[in-house]
């Protein structure tokens, strides 16, 4: 048995043992209703924490209104079971799903405007929305207004005459829903969709430039988290039996946020441990009655002071393995035949015959009254290496930002492969064939080198989030194919040995190389390099020159590079454009540019000034 299979078996066995032991203890009455209540509360807290970790940990967006989504789910589910006149066993699943969907809808509606904000501002606006949900519920008559809803069917009573048995059923429902939720977030986190979400946390600008539709994925993660919170809310309503909007205020959201941070942001297993401990701890401290909350808050402060990144940091221990195994077994039992796996998925590659790949016509942008770029006409042919030089502040990076849609041009056109692309969002432009690197390296730092590359394959993969969660054949075939492609690409750059190293663990020169490699993985027709040699020593620069030549010979791509290192520019560029004050002042072969008086003037001042400057220099040296 290999290691992988062993860990599947171990995980499933552990889950089953925990489940069987606890449900036996409950159904025989060894655990009284108080303890089984704590277990149920713990399960629900874990669901809330894990789902909040999706937004806060994986997506990296601080949200302070998570309890609002829980309340929407709770009220919707409770209203449904109260009004549906059918067997509780049938009504409950309907109610839970409806509650989840209602919460997801709220998440979508809130996320659309709110997710444009970042950091503390996002936190505050989600806090505001969370409180508004609470006030609205308090003022509606359907929800019982300020007095709330009561006499909701309780799971611990509804399933059997025997309270112990019914409690055991309640425990089973909560336990397995929790397992499914955790496993889904786990597997999703390791699919192309999860990589997209994490890449946003790591570096939003780079994610967009790598072809990730960041707005979509932010909204997706936020909505999914709301959906899970809604389901947890529905379970809560039917565990407690009554609802009051006050329960779901700001403090409740904070409570779950505390659990996420204590467990370690981004660590799902950390979330599980911390919510279990934080729910159980106050109960254990019950003996100290009034001291318990004081102790609790002291522990919280001490914990943060001594382990600021939480219990687990971003580490995990593996449970996802068991999910794959369960899925395969289930399929075998249900007789679902594995679809014949197509040979490893091959991403789609465009072929472009026409020689001009990128063209700008009279391109310009002004910020306020300042014209940062004006009337720029350039042409880039297939397989060409072209340099873009100019003094500091000449508008070189601005030009790159125009090409990649970071800035909207105020005049002129950008034509890529014969089609105009101005005004399109960055990720679509990347998808259509322009990839770039950045002046200050922007890698997905805490992801592995291999995953950095895989993010770039995102747009050319097809499987849905659901495929990613259940890990069907489509998922495995595409992931297998991408894995091979990504490793091949790394091999071209002699980086296959560091595939599993964290990106920020690489030396500087390799980080630059990885960024270029990631850009190439987007399958561009045009590669934009923004000062690739900045900060490199001469040996690294030499290697970079070899790399750029290698790229041109192996990948059919036009390269436009901004660089101040004249040895590099003159050494590898076939043509050079010179920019000054936002305009192209010269273009031509390296030799022609070197001797162009206007270019010399732009770098050293006008001829007279230059002469005086040189004279002064000579004088100073003399």
């Amino acid at each position: 048995m290999n290691m992988k299979a062993k860990s599947y078996v171990l995980n499933i066995a552990a889950l089953l043992i925990v489940y069987i032991v606890l449900s036996l203890l409950i159904s025989t009455g060894t655990f009284n209703s108080y303890i089984s209540g704590i277990l149920a509360t713990t399960g629900i807290a874990i669901m809330m924490t894990v789902s909040l970790n999706l937004t806060t940990g994986l997506l990296g967006q601080l949200a302070l209104g998570h309890a609002g989504f829980m309340s929407v789910g709770a009220y919707v589910a409770a209203l449904i079971t109260k009004s549906l006149n059918m067997n509780f066993g049938f009504a409950l699943p309907v109610a839970l799903i409806a509650g989840g969907l209602a919460a997801a809808l709220c998440g979508l509606l809130i996320g659309m405007p709110a997710l444009r904000l970042k950091g503390d501002y996002l936190a505050i606006i989600t806090l505001g929305f969370g409180e508004i949900i609470r006030v609205v519920i308090e003022n509606l008559s359907v929800t019982g207004g300020a007095s709330g809803l009561s006499r909701i069917t309780r799971m611990s009573r509804a399933f059997s005459e025997d309270a112990n048995v019914s409690s055991a059923v309640q425990f089973s429902i909560i336990f397995w829903m929790m397992v499914v939720m955790i496993a889904s977030i786990f597997t999703l986190g390791r699919s192309r969709h999860g990589r997209a979400i994490i890449s946003i946390r790591e570096n939003e600008v780079a994610a967009e430039a790598t072809g990730i539709p960041t707005t979509y994925y932010k909204l997706f993660a936020f909505t999914l988290a709301a959906f899970f919170a809604g389901i947890a809310g529905g379970l809560y309503a039917h565990q407690i039996g009554m609802l009051s909007a006050k329960t779901f205020g700001f403090n409740k959201s904070i409570e779950y946020l505390v659990m996420v941070v204590l467990g370690g942001m981004g660590s799902i297993t950390g979330s599980i441990i911390s919510s279990a401990v934080l729910v159980a701890l106050p109960e254990f401290l019950r003996g100290f009655s009034e001291w318990r909350l004081v102790i609790y808050s002291l522990l919280l402060i001490l914990m943060m002071l001594f382990r600021p990144s939480g219990l687990m940091g971003t580490k995990e221990f593996s449970l996802l393995a068991s999910w794959t195994a369960t899925a395969t077994t289930l399929k075998r039992w249900l007789g679902i035949k594995k679809r014949p796996t197509k040979m490893p998925f091959t991403p789609h590659y465009d072929v472009w015959e026409d020689s001009v790949v990128l063209e700008t016509k009279n391109l310009g942008i002004s910020f306020g009254g300042l014209k940062a770029a004006e009337g720029i006409d350039i042409q880039l042919k297939n397989d060409e290496i072209v340099g873009l030089i100019g003094p500091n502040g000449a508008g070189k990076t601005t030009f790159f930002n125009l090409l990649t849609g970071v800035y909207m041009p105020t005049e002129g056109d950008i034509i890529l492969l014969g089609k105009p692309i101005n005004g399109k969002p960055t990720h679509l432009i990347t998808e259509q064939g322009i990839a770039r690197t950045f002046q200050n390296i922007r890698l997905f730092k805490s992801m592995s080198v291999l995953d950095n590359i895989k993010v770039a394959f995102h747009t050319r993969m097809e499987y849905s989030p659901l495929s990613g969660i259940v890990r069907d054949s489509r998922f495995s075939s595409e992931e297998k194919g991408i894995d091979i492609r990504a490793r091949e690409l790394l091999k071209v750059f002699n980086m296959e040995d560091v595939a599993d190293v964290r990106a920020d663990g690489l030396p500087y020169g390799q980080q630059r190389k990885l960024e270029i490699c990631r850009a190439l993985a987007c399958n561009p027709k045009v590669l934009l390099l923004d000062e690739p040699a900045a900060g490199m020593n001469p040996i690294e620069t030499d290697e970079l020159m070899r790399t750029i030549r290698l790229i041109r010979s192996r990948f059919s791509v036009a390269i436009l590079l901004i660089e101040h290192d004249m040895k590099l520019v003159m050494g590898i560029c076939e043509r050079i454009y010179v920019l000054n004050y936002g305009r192209v002042i010269a273009q031509g072969s390296p030799a022609a540019i070197r001797d162009n008086p206007e270019v010399v003037a732009a770098y050293l001042g006008t001829t007279e000034q230059a002469q005086t400057a040189e004279g002064d220099l000579a004088h100073a040296e003399g």
């Binding site: 904000l117 606006i125 006030v135 003022n139 600008v205 943060m304």
Partner: protein, 292 residues
Amino acid sequence: MTLFLNQLINGLHVGSIYALIALGYTMVYGIVRLINFAHGDILMVGAYTAVVLTTMLGLPFPVVVVLVILVCVLFGVLIERIAYKPLRSSPRISSLITAIGVSMLLQNLALLIFTPTPKPYPFSLNIPPLSIGGLQIGFTTVLTIVVSAALMILLQVLVAKSRAGKSMRAVSEDYDAAQLMGINVNTTITFTFAIGCALAGIGSVLYGLAYPTVSPTLGSLPGLKAFIAAVLGGIGIIPGAMLGGLIMGLAESLTKAYISSRLSDAVVYGILIVVLLFKPSGLLGRRTREKV
């Protein structure tokens, strides 16, 4: 019309208190980028200090006010030194959670020492209200508005003109560069906390005069609202906190009078959301864009 004017004055009254507390949030945020969740609870500390000093020691009002301010400053500085300073280089979320922990600790200690039963605020000012053209304005209201306005002007002058104010602005612009220029960053941060808490101490007296019941959770609601006021005006910007506080107070009292008292929170949060959506960095904030 009289009703409207009365509500306007009520709004200014509450708003001035929010503004005083909001200044503490905004100054601390401006300098260490921390949402100091425990700031509202300093208000509660101030209120209980007043209760203890009067009922147990029987001190007169002016002495109590001075001592309340001192105790608030002491608490603020201690909290900064013990709980926040060690976390300055950690992820910001860690200090946020610590702040929440400190807030819980203060509330629960108060619960333990003073029990949940509310106590009356030991002072009230029995001075007849001013009448201006048929309008009756309570003395406390006048006092609150005048004191807050004076303090805000004083603070603005302090920050703009004094040496300490310059250090504060420098540290908030760039922590490392300020250090390299020979500014004692630790002293400056402590000083900022001290000023914020002194304002909260005065705020607690004014709040106690307006709402004379003292309970362990007294600080959380005004704290939250003052914090929102700070964000509304543009967090980190001192005039923004004042503007935000006044807007919050006016919105609250006008909604209570003309729409519904139960919806006043919703209106307040609604304003916050609208402002953030259209001007994400607050009313007086400048928009910053990530450089690519």
